[in-house]
């Protein structure tokens, strides 16, 4: 039986990346005084899985390093070795090295053996510094059998614990372990041979054998993860991942017994029944559904023209279709949503390392990591968020002496928080540092030659830091101070239709809040018309639509305003801004849509409201360029293009300010 291993490589790479991530997370959280045995186990399992997989595929660089790492972890969990911060640091560095090697294998580039040897030396130094240098450290991966986690099958025949493990319905993890036996695998000249070594386990072995025969190529190794004890008819069950909640207390208690340890091995990760799908496949589906929505609205329009019995039936069928399409659309959109923790997870490490570099003590609190955000946004969020977090660390949190002098706790706090509010996602970075320095910013702005009113409100002063080339840091450090960042941050966030607000209180810290739309692909819009042109105003921004009475309209200088809700609203005529050549209508004969975005509130004058509709946002910049006052375009039911109004940019700031004075 010859198996093309290449098809498993990608799965291995992806999985190993995940394992590395798990290791990193756990290592960061681990307490050196009293490490949680379950965490240690998880780290061990992750290292072990990588070693196992790399052994099978012949990625020797990984195998060697993970093996030594594993030895340390094994000692740690057996209380033979006390974890120290230094050891954790070395282990973290090792995960980095492993990540590098993994990428090198993935890209088929040169392996940096020196880096590996250095990493290995660092790890072995830990072992030798122990009183009793371990023989294991020197043993090659091929001799893994002395590792308790291994050899489950070799030992299994005589082991009563097998039954108890069965009763607990725990995973055995033999697939997890098995790939780690490269010798066996090589001998058999295919990846499966080692199951032959398991005669002592009739039930499990039989089911494997039978499965093996029927479909030999099915990749046990593609998911070298938890395995469930099986009956024959459940032969497929072992590919399912085990839920983390399954951990039974009994397992931890029995962790010192070798066999039960094997039972404890399955990497507890992910929900059952998840599959990996390439993003571009999902994007294709999203696009197709978008097209389907359009076709469906074309169909409904045609349906309305059909008379009689057939027409009724047709309308019924089309209504049914619309419902289904809407559900598909929702389902597809939810596929694109991923938890924001995907970006957040990188920050504990970043903060830890950076705090060390800057010699500050900082605690990072992450809240709302489970909040789901459109995948395309997640990718674009990483850079600006990293920048903001680094800024908070470097400029926000004061040096130790300063904190103590100000009577603040020694440890600075940064809170990274995500939440969904209405149709928006809010992500905030809050620090308890010194806050932004108003005078410094104003001075800097003036020295940069900006036109500044020294009496401007705080909010406007804070926005100045987003100007290009703006940095008030006294010295340029590794971390920040070059002033190239904040304008990029704002641009990146605006590129995903978001905005950023700053609240800062001197001496108490600052909060940067990023506001994002829920999804970039579809919005609820109000269709309005001016003459024959249709425009979409995002429903999110609309407060109300009204037909004004003559006594509500006031004219100030050349601007028309509307008195409503106890305030004056500046008005923008869509006819004028969109340059539609036709005779002006009187404001009283038009409809006014009152909108709000950020602090801007104004009214848009249109001819008619056509109705609410979900629209698929299409980029205008893809083939054309950015148009002022327009955020994108969409395709209407009749196949025509309609522009989506950019409520934030439709009105000029002066017009808003004028009302502020009125």
């Amino acid at each position: 039986m010859s198996v093309d291993m290449n098809q498993f490589h990608n799965v291995f790479f992806e999985e190993s990346q995940e394992h590395l991530q798990t290791m990193e997370e756990l290592l960061l959280n681990i307490s050196t005084d009293d490490p949680d045995p379950e965490d240690l186990n998880s780290i061990f399992r992750a290292a072990h899985s990588i070693k196992g997989g790399s052994g099978i595929f012949g990625f020797d660089a990984l195998t060697g390093l993970t093996h030594v790492m594993e030895t340390i972890l094994d000692k740690a969990r057996n209380h033979e070795l006390d974890l120290t911060t230094d050891i954790v640091d070395v282990l973290l560095a090792t995960t980095d090295t492993l990540g590098d090697i993994l990428r090198a294998y993935q890209d088929e580039t040169e392996i940096d053996w020196q880096q590996i040897e250095e990493g290995k030396a660092a790890l072995e130094a830990i072992l030798t510094s122990e009183q009793e240098p371990s023989a294991k450290a020197e043993s090659s991966p091929a001799f893994d059998n002395d590792d308790d986690g291994f050899g489950f099958f070799d030992d299994a025949p005589g082991q009563p614990q097998q039954d108890s493990a069965d009763d607990e319905d725990d995973g055995f993890g033999f697939f997890d372990d098995a790939p780690g036996q490269p010798v066996a695998a090589e001998e058999e000249d295919d990846g499966f041979g080692f199951f032959d070594d398991a005669p002592g386990q009739p039930v499990a072995a039989d089911s494997i054998e039978s499965h093996n025969d029927s479909d030999g190529k099915f990749g046990f190794f593609s998911e070298p993860k938890p395995a469930q004890p099986l009956k024959d008819e459940e032969a497929f069950g072992f590919f399912e991942q085990e839920k983390p909640e399954n951990k039974s207390p009994a397992r931890t208690a029995a962790a010192k017994k070798p066999a039960a340890k094997a039972a404890a091995k399955p990497a507890a990760k992910g929900d059952a029944g998840s599959i990996r799908v390439e993003t571009n496949k999902i994007d294709t589906v999203v696009n197709l559904v978008g097209e389907m929505v359009i076709t469906q609205s074309i169909l409904s329009m045609i349906g309305e023209d059909v008379d009689g019995n057939t027409g009724e039936k047709l309308t019924g069928a089309i209504d049914e279709l619309s419902r289904n399409i809407r559900e598909i659309q929702e389902a597809v959109m939810s596929m694109r949503m991923i938890p924001v923790s995907f970006v957040f997870n990188r920050f504990p490490r970043l903060v830890r390392d950076l705090a060390k570099t800057l010699d500050k003590k900082i605690e990072l609190i992450i809240e709302g990591g489970e909040t789901e955000v459109d995948k395309s946004m997640i990718e674009k969020l990483a850079d600006p968020l990293t920048h903001l977090v680094r800024n908070s660390l470097d400029h926000g949190i004061e040096p130790l002496e300063k904190r103590l002098a100000a009577g603040k706790p020694e440890i600075g706090t940064i809170v990274l928080k995500a939440e969904q509010r209405g149709g928006n996602i809010l992500i905030s970075i809050k620090d308890d540092g010194g806050g932004l320095n108003r005078e410094k910013i104003l001075d800097k702005a003036i020295s940069n030659g900006m036109d500044i009113d020294p009496k401007m409100p705080d909010e406007e002063v804070w926005q100045l830091i987003f100007a290009p080339g703006f940095s008030t840091a006294d010295a340029v450090t590794d971390v920040s101070g070059r002033g190239v960042g904040m304008d990029v941050v704002r641009r990146n966030i605006e590129a995903i239709q978001g905005g950023i607000d700053i609240v800062s209180v001197g001496g108490q810290g600052s909060t940067f809040t990023i506001k994002l739309p829920l999804t970039l692909a579809i919005i609820d819009g109000m269709c309005v018309s001016v003459e024959n042109e249709t425009y979409i105003i995002p429903l999110l921004n609309i407060i109300e639509s009204l037909q004004p009475r003559a006594d509500q309209i006031k004219t100030l200088a050349n601007d028309t305003m509307l008195w409503s809700r106890d305030q004056y609203w500046p008005l923008v005529s869509l006819r004028e801004t969109m340059q539609i050549n036709a005779t002006d209508k009187r404001v009283e004969d038009s409809i006014i849509v009152l909108v709000e975005i950020g602090k801007k509130r104004y009214g848009i004058i249109v001819d008619q409201l056509l109705g609410k509709q979900q629209v698929v946002i299409k980029s205008l910049e893809r083939h054309y360029k950015k148009v002022d006052g327009i955020s994108g375009a969409t395709i209407m039911g009749d196949g025509k293009v309609a522009m989506i109004i950019d409520v934030d940019n439709l009105i000029k700031n002066e017009q808003i300010n004028q009302v502020g004075l009125a």
Binding site: T577, I580, K618, R622, Y624, K625, D628, A633
Partner: protein, 172 residues
């Protein structure tokens, strides 16, 4: 004109010094553009206007889900009466990974031109500035002015590509 034939043309164009041009009429003159850049030819359909756009940018249309701008070269170069009816032709072009439609008076033919048949462009008598021209070629029924359509469409004069491309143009 389907994609296959334009791919074939692309192949032919790379194999020899032999290039295929699609010829079209603008006013009295016959022009040619490299056929590998032609995506398709279609009839004119109503466009959605864009605010603050020059008058030769008619607006955008929905090309199977893509929002594509339409440029009327007749208006831009003021060569003929810009009427829009069922005979008005739009050539859809692939330019630097984008799609742009251009309106011309009519589409005539596909011609084969070898490199040595191309003469330097004239300095006058042509609607376009000479930097947008590849040269002149003579065919059976007269002269064809070969347009470097990519350079024209990405130019600042047309102004539908963003500033990055305009900077590139400066270095050309």
């Amino acid at each position: 004109m389907n994609t296959v034939s334009s791919q074939d043309a692309a192949l032919a164009a790379t194999v020899g010094a032999n290039k295929e041009y699609l010829t079209f009429m603008l006013g009295e003159e016959q022009y040619g553009l490299a056929i590998i850049q032609v995506k398709e030819i279609r009839g004119y359909e109503p466009v959605t206007k864009i605010a603050n756009a020059p008058d030769f940018i008619k607006g955008v249309i929905n090309l199977r889900g893509d929002i594509v701008p339409i440029v009327d070269l007749r208006v831009k170069f003021n060569v003929s009466e810009a009427t829009y009816n069922e005979f008005t032709i739009v050539i859809m072009l692939n330019v630097q990974d984008r799609i742009v439609g251009i309106v011309v008076d009519s589409v005539s033919d596909v011609i084969n031109v070898t490199e040595d048949e191309i003469h330097p462009p004239p300095e006058f008598g042509v609607a376009f500035d000479s930097r947008y021209l590849d040269g002149l070629a003579s065919v059976d029924d007269g002269l064809v002015i070969l347009v470097n359509i990519e350079r024209l469409i990405t130019s600042r004069e047309i102004g539908i590509f963003d500033s990055m491309n305009q900077q590139n143009e400066g270095s050309v």
